[in-house]
């Protein structure tokens, strides 16, 4: 990917890292082709299984390090679901936990140099985002029936404004899955692209100390952003779920 230019600068495109390539050999990418994207998603799943199955195997009263990591994550998400959605939202805790773990682990695995970040693909995050959207909408109608439409009807607004607010609410409801998925993909993609841009500057002798310091700083920021974005995706899922369970404002 990176090739030496005559002046000594590295020539590579900051967005080259997001190209989906077949893992074995070259050729067209079909839906069944094993690509680098598939590999890193599988590694994320393996890491989750590793932490949670190996961690909980001992079932120690005094937890080992791995077990306490698992317990901390579990307790954190459980409390979040309970706080935001209420007691009846706890039934949907496994779904939210699954989303959080997948996003968190693929975000953090993507920070390994030369790795591929599955959550930077809009295709991946759109599946997650639209999955949440459809699940929540269907759940809202199943739980509340037509009363779910009360979500769009602000009964405490002035009567004249209510239809206008309803239109705006409907639009914002349908934009939710788009912003939900693009927020995650955009954040991860932007962070990784900035890292690669600084890496490009590092090849120039004059600015390389600054660029290397910049890479370290941006990497630290990315460690933060990865956690925050997984948290934000999960808490927004909880907020949408709360809307479906209790549509009355």
């Amino acid at each position: 990917m990176a090739e030496e230019k005559a002046e000594g600068g590295l020539v590579f495109h900051p967005l080259d890292q997001f190209i989906v390539k077949p893992l074995f050999g070259d050729g067209p990418v079909h839906w069944y082709t094993v690509t680098n994207l598939t590999l890193w998603m599988a590694l994320a799943l393996l890491a989750i299984v590793g932490v949670f199955v190996l961690g909980s195997r001992g079932r120690a009263v005094i937890p080992t390090r791995l077990q306490s990591i698992g317990e901390l994550i579990y307790g954190f998400i459980y409390k979040m679901v309970e706080d935001v959605c209420g007691k009846d939202g706890v039934r949907y805790f496994p779904y939210i936990m699954t989303l959080f773990l997948f996003i968190l682990f693929s975000n953090y695995l993507a920070l390994i140099p030369m790795s591929y970040s599955p959550t930077s693909m809009i295709a991946v995050t759109a599946i997650l985002g639209f999955g949440v959207f459809f699940a929540v909408t269907i759940l809202g109608f199943v739980k509340n029936g037509p009363a779910f439409l009360g979500l769009f009807w602000m009964s405490d607004a002035p009567a004249i404004l209510r239809p206008i607010i309803a239109v705006i609410e409907v639009i914002s409801y349908f934009v939710r899955p788009v912003s939900h998925s693009i927020r995650l993909a955009g954040n991860i993609m932007a962070g990784h692209a900035v890292l690669k841009v600084f890496a490009g500057f590092a090849a120039l002798t004059l600015v390389s100390p600054v660029a290397i310091f910049g890479i370290v700083a941006i990497y630290g920021l990315e460690v933060l952003v990865c956690g925050i974005q997984a948290y934000v995706f999960t808490i927004l899922t909880c907020v949408y779920l709360k809307d479906a369970l209790h549509p009355a404002h």
């Binding site: 967005l15 955009g186 927004l236």
Partner: protein, 74 residues
Amino acid sequence: MEGELAHIGAGLAAIGSGAAAIGVGTVAGNYLAGALRNPSAAAGQTATLFIGLAFAEALGIFAFLVSLLLMFAV
């Protein structure tokens, strides 16, 4: 010519990132101001803080995406 205009447009779209920075700063600054006035209520509002940050930041990401599209897709 069209490609050059697209690059200018990409640069203009980058202004959106600065605007998102203002938004994120407003959210975080107001949270901090409120939290210092009433520290006991601060812990309960961290979720709201992060939701607000996410909404403000998402628009900056959209601007970034628009400039990427202008640079490489149009």
